[in-house]
């Protein structure tokens, strides 16, 4: 009885992890299914065909390529904008701080459907043709806030003595920034970029509103879901999943090794915003 009580929580944790992983396992499992009819709902038999012929479904290759393109360009733009914003917010005093904090916080706390609907309304009224460029605009808009939060968290813990030392040794402001600040911020900027890329290739709702006739991978899945979802969709989703998890596990193990060597506390390996990013009082 005591043993049961002692391990009750561990047992629960195992069950809960099982619950979290169940749909993931189903997605991966059904990527190897050989469905008999049009529907990939019932297990029929194991095959590697879906992985080998991942682009056998018309349109799926273009959709995946489009998602990667959108993801890359909007991540680069949002990471640059967000990093500079975070630097300004943490490093400088200025009027209108409260406004800036609220403006960064608001897009994260607005339902996606409202973000998409309002952008589409503006594009319609301004007679902008929706497509790749409008998707890019929308993605940068909603990723920027996440970048600011991630980079800001690192900047707050930043040891400014290192920069002062560089300045004392005669480095100018720009040299100090390039040789000291930027390299030390690099891990946070990289986490922010990875998070932004993940958000971008996963986004459906906002993209759905502003895509016009352009099709990204999530939009392709949406279209397919109305008729029947081919197993190739599971292949792509599994591949995205496996690559992301490899990145994260690699990041964590790298952190573990580094911390063992330097006996420093465990670094934050995942870009976790410190609880809910909150607007500071003006």
């Amino acid at each position: 009885m005591r043993w049961v009580r002692k391990h009750l929580l561990t047992g629960y944790a195992i069950l809960a992890f099982g619950y979290l992983m169940l749909p993931v396992a189903v997605v991966i499992l059904f990527s190897f299914n050989a469905p008999a009819g049009r529907f990939n709902y019932v297990w029929e038999g194991f095959t590697l065909d879906n992985w080998i012929h991942w682009d056998a479904v018309p349109g799926i290759r273009d959709a995946v390529v489009k998602s990667l393109e959108v993801g890359i360009v909007s991540t680069i733009a949002a990471t640059a904008l967000g990093t500079v914003l975070a630097l300004a917010i943490v490093r400088h005093r200025f009027r209108g701080r409260g406004f800036v904090n609220v403006l960064v916080f608001l897009p994260m706390s607005t339902p996606e459907i409202v973000l998409g609907a309002s952008l589409l309304t503006m594009f319609l009224q301004a007679q902008v043709v929706t497509g790749f460029v409008t998707i890019f605009i929308a993605h940068v808009m909603f990723i920027v806030s996440y970048v600011v939060v991630t980079v800001k968290a690192r900047l707050i813990d930043f040891d400014r003595h290192l920069e002062e030392a560089a300045m004392d040794l005669g480095a100018g402001e720009w040299t100090t920034f390039r040789l000291i600040t930027l390299p030390l911020l690099a891990p946070a900027i990289l986490s922010a970029a990875l998070l932004g890329f993940a958000l971008s290739i996963d986004d459906f709702v906002i993209t759905y509103f502003v895509a016009g006739s352009t099709t990204t991978f999530p939009l392709f899945v949406w279209g397919a879901a109305r008729v029947s979802v081919p197993p190739q969709v599971n292949v792509i989703a599994s591949a995205i999943f496996l690559v992301s998890v490899l990145f994260m596990v690699g990041n964590v193990l790298w952190g573990l090794r580094a911390s063992r060597r330097s006996r420093e506390p465990l670094p934050q390996a995942l870009p976790i915003p410190e609880a809910l990013p909150q607007p500071e009082a003006a």
Partner: protein, 285 residues
Amino acid sequence: MTFLHRHKWLTPYLLLLPGIAWLAVFFLVPLGFLGYQSLQSGSFESGYSFTWEFSNYWDAISTYNEQLIRSFLYAGIATVIALLVAYPLVYWIAFRGGRWKNLFLILIVAPLFVTYLVRTLAWLNILADEGPIVNTLKTLGILGSDGRLLATGFAVVAGITYNFLPFMALPLYVSLEQIDSRLLEAAEDLYASKRQAFLRVTLPLSAPGIVAGTLLTFIPAAGDFINAQLLGTPRQSMVGNVIQSKFLELIDYPAAASLSFILMALILAALLVYARAVGTERLTG
């Protein structure tokens, strides 16, 4: 460069300019357009004109009160279940995870890296009519012989709960992880039972995480339409489904725009009620 040196106070504004301009033009201005659209009258064929048509709002509320109530009900239930499921799990990671904490955290966020739509579709397989779960429930007599889980409110709430669980778990984890273990030792030294120590030390200290997690789960859940669309039927449709179809299928922009604002206003109202209940300082830091 010399100009900048002379006007040092300009630096922060120059740094802020690109990002803030982007957010202003592509977030704030569109909201203005949405508000403008919500007060227009007319039709897609004959064109819309701005007439301070406040009746759009009353029409939307009276026509779609059912979907509005359902959205908040589903989102509320899903948020509570997510809290109850996530709390013991992240508690275990924070206090028993040891040096593998970060790897366990990956397991929590991992579902987010399966494309949202695909992971929702996976629940179609899991809850399928002849699937293992439905069959087990039938054998146990919980579900009637022609009972099903798909196309019910249960499936939609289950989908929402699953999809937003990581957003509940992460802030909870951050707040539990920050708890100084010496406080718990002190409680023990002062003869608190395990239960007392949890209720009077751990739980209050994790309150910021509970608040943050609740918001991060509830807000997107209330606006969601994907779970209702894929796992439910029109009888489970939420306000997001109405906005989506009015905007993109029925081309009734003023109605869709006013519903969007009603959704935002109701979320804001829910936040204020919640803020009263938990104390404002916890909500705004």
